[in-house]
């Protein structure tokens, strides 16, 4: 009885939340998809603190009618990826900015604004928008992604038909202190194609983003994102991907600052002999709260998956990791690896981890580890005995702690850029 009451309260709150929102217009098929998403959302309800999947991350500010204001950070140095030759697509507070963006084309590349794609009749988009999001609701509900499918106002649709030379760079600027942005991207990497997508910027005071990626057979998809700076921002993001045969999927996220970041990654490995890697390096202090929630399904033979998540926490910061590897019956010779580690730079910080393995095949190698600890005293003394001052030595060891995650970035220039940002963050903290 109590359970039913709670559920009802949750559904009532969800109805109230979406009451003032209107579904964006588009082609009939798109409007039907959005309507379907809304119905699904109203049936499951937005998460509440009691939900198992949200036990360690409070969803209430994400549920509130209006976002909490977030101060716009005025960075002095050039943003990340500035030195990388790339195709820039700019969103300001969640709205596409054509003037600031490059022309939406390139060799082996088709790019369209989401609203245009959902008003047209593009067969592959029809089969893709919201499809993975819907499928990923089982066995765990992900209502914010459903909310996104229903109400996303902007985004891009990208199709790579061959090797794309320049990375496609999605830049999310934040100018308005109370902006509430919902973006949805749909990406298809065709057979044998190769695409890199970069993402950076705080985006909005409150940001809900979904990226659905289809990596076809023999295709490669690289994703590197940097969520940074504006500390008061709140973000809930989902990356959904299906991975074909002999395909490669790699995603890395750097997060520095942010009072609430929840990054969910849901991967479905469907083709044999593929590789899927997800990694993250997060650092923050004070009321920093960072949550990585990952779900990888192996549904094919001889595939490798890796999850490498590292969090540096200080002065009361909180890090969360929920990671699961599901190996379905028949997914023989699966090689799954998962590591999540928290480095606590003081006694006030917290790292909470829930690693899970669920295996139904009998010939697999899966390993997982989760650790939490402080800077190694022995190593620190060794460095100091060579003349490196404590603060500098601590930074060096902190970067060493993050190294395994950063190594997951394949492109050297991009990895170097990310490393500089992390160094910069540590140096600034030391100075401040």
């Amino acid at each position: 009885m109590k359970r039913a009451e709670l559920k009802q309260r949750k559904l009532d709150a969800t109805s109230a939340r979406v009451e003032g929102m209107t579904l964006p217009a588009g082609a009939a098929w798109a409007e039907a998809l959005r309507q379907d998403a809304l119905s699904r959302l109203l049936a499951m309800g937005l998460p509440q603190g009691r939900d198992e999947y949200w036990r360690w991350t409070r969803p209430d500010t994400l549920n509130a009618d209006a976002p909490k204001p977030a101060t716009v950070f005025d960075a002095k140095e050039a943003p990340v990826f500035s030195g990388i030759d790339r195709l820039k697509i700019v969103f300001v507070d969640g709205v596409f900015d054509a003037e600031a963006s490059d022309a939406l084309d390139g060799e082996n590349l088709e790019i369209m604004r989401l609203s245009d794609a959902l008003s047209a009749d593009i067969h592959w988009v029809k089969d893709a928008y919201g499809v993975q999001e819907k499928k990923a609701q089982d066995p765990v509900e992900r209502p914010f992604a459903t909310l996104n499918t229903a109400f996303a106002t902007d985004g891009v649709v990208i199709r790579a038909t061959g090797k794309v030379a320049k990375p496609v760079s999605l830049i999310y600027l934040h100018r308005n202190e109370t902006s509430d942005a919902i973006l949805h991207h749909v990406i298809r990497v065709e057979e044998g194609a190769d695409l890199t997508v970069l993402e950076n910027g705080p985006a909005a005071a409150r940001f809900n983003k979904v990226m659905e990626v289809e990596v076809s057979d023999k295709a490669a998809f690289h994703h590197v994102r940097a969520q940074g700076r504006d500390h008061e921002r709140r973000a809930v993001t989902h990356v959904f991907a299906t991975i074909g045969q002999e395909a490669l999927f790699k995603s890395f996220t750097m997060t520095a600052n942010g009072v609430l970041t929840r990054n969910e990654v849901v991967l479905d490995i469907q083709g044999d002999d593929s590789m899927a890697h997800v990694a993250g390096a997060a650092l923050g202090d004070g009321d920093f709260h960072h949550d990585d929630t990952v779900f990888i399904t192996h549904d094919a033979e001889r595939c490798e998956s890796r999850q490498v998540f590292k969090k540096v926490l200080r002065n009361g910061a909180k890090g969360v990791f929920q990671g699961k590897i599901l190996v379905k019956a028949g997914a023989q010779k699966t090689d799954g690896y998962q590591i999540s580690q928290g480095l606590l730079l003081d006694g006030d910080s917290q790292f909470l981890a829930k690693p899970e393995l669920e295996i139904y095949a009998d010939d697999v190698a899966c390993s997982h580890g989760s650790t939490v600890g402080a800077i190694d005293d022995e190593a620190l003394f060794y460095l100091r005995s060579r003349g490196v001052p404590t603060a500098e030595a601590t930074d060096l060891l902190t970067l060493a702690f993050l190294a395994e995650a950063i190594e997951e970035i394949e492109d050297e220039a991009i990895a170097e850029d990310i490393l500089h940002r992390l160094e910069g963050w540590l140096t600034r903290r030391r100075a401040g």
Binding site: E378, L383, S385, G387, A400, L402
Partner: protein, 253 residues
């Protein structure tokens, strides 16, 4: 150069006195060997000199060129010219050997108000010094001491010593875990650094290291004190007769 006066040290965590009045004077360019049975306080002396946590100095002082270094942080002692070659060099995954050395060299230069070494100059210097210690480029790229053999670790210590150019080097059982060839190589590395000004304290159990690194003075340590000092012949005496006779001799006196 270095003067240890009546040094008393106890463990911070427990009420256990380790050093009970160590006196030692090392002059410029001299090589002093400290020998002694297990648990006599040799390694503790090296740790206390380098500023490791966990020890409490209850009495005495340590002067390096007239300055009491016991008040200094480990990094300040290093910048002042003190170097400890560890008995068990620490592995640091994720930090490249080269990065580590460059950071250390430049941190010391900065602390002394000197200009930092440029990347090119550093590279030139380290390549030359690594070559003479038979440390290949691959070892320089690898994370500090990770996956190094015992001999490689010790050679890496000597490389650091060569790059940091300290005034006083303390070698804590550098010969432990080394085969004859590796010991020779390490000793040659140490001898190459003897320039008449740089001083050394060589802590060892065995005389054989002292065949390669010839000491000016040999000290025998026991139960937290230096009980006997003499020339190189003292080491030979230990080698032949063990410590028992020496200890008995002191007890009786």
């Amino acid at each position: 150069m270095l003067e240890i006066k009546n040094l008393h040290v106890k463990l911070e965590e427990e009420d256990k006195q380790i050093l009970k009045g160590v006196d030692l004077k090392v002059g410029e360019g001299e090589v002093h060997a400290i020998m002694g049975p297990n648990g006599s306080g040799k390694s503790t002396t090296s740790y206390v000199l380098s500023g490791r946590d966990g020890y409490e100095v209850t009495e005495g002082e340590v002067l390096l060129d007239g300055e009491n270094i016991l008040e200094l942080e480990p990094e300040e002692r290093a910048a002042a010219g003190l170097f400890l070659a560890f008995q068990y060099p620490v592995e640091i995954p994720g930090v490249g050997n080269m990065t580590f050395l460059r950071t250390a060299v430049n941190a010391q230069r900065k602390a002394r108000g000197e200009e930092e070494l440029s990347a090119t100059d550093f590279l030139k210097e380290i390549r030359a010094k690594a070559k003479s210690l038979q440390i290949d480029a691959e070892m320089l790229k690898r994370p500090v001491n990770v996956g190094f053999s015992g001999g490689e670790k010790k050679r890496n210590e000597i490389l650091q010593m060569a790059m940091l150019e300290p005034k006083l080097c303390i070698l804590d059982e550098t010969d432990s875990g080394l085969d004859v060839d590796a010991m020779k190589l390490v000793s040659e590395g140490v001898n190459a650094l003897r320039d008449g000004k740089r001083s050394f304290i060589v802590i060892t159990h065995y005389q054989r290291l002292l065949d390669h690194i010839k000491p000016d003075v040999v000290h025998i340590m026991s139960n937290g004190r230096i009980i006997k000092s003499g020339g190189p012949e003292l080491a030979l005496e230990v080698e032949n007769n063990g410590y028992a006779d020496l200890l008995a001799e002191v007890e009786q006196a």
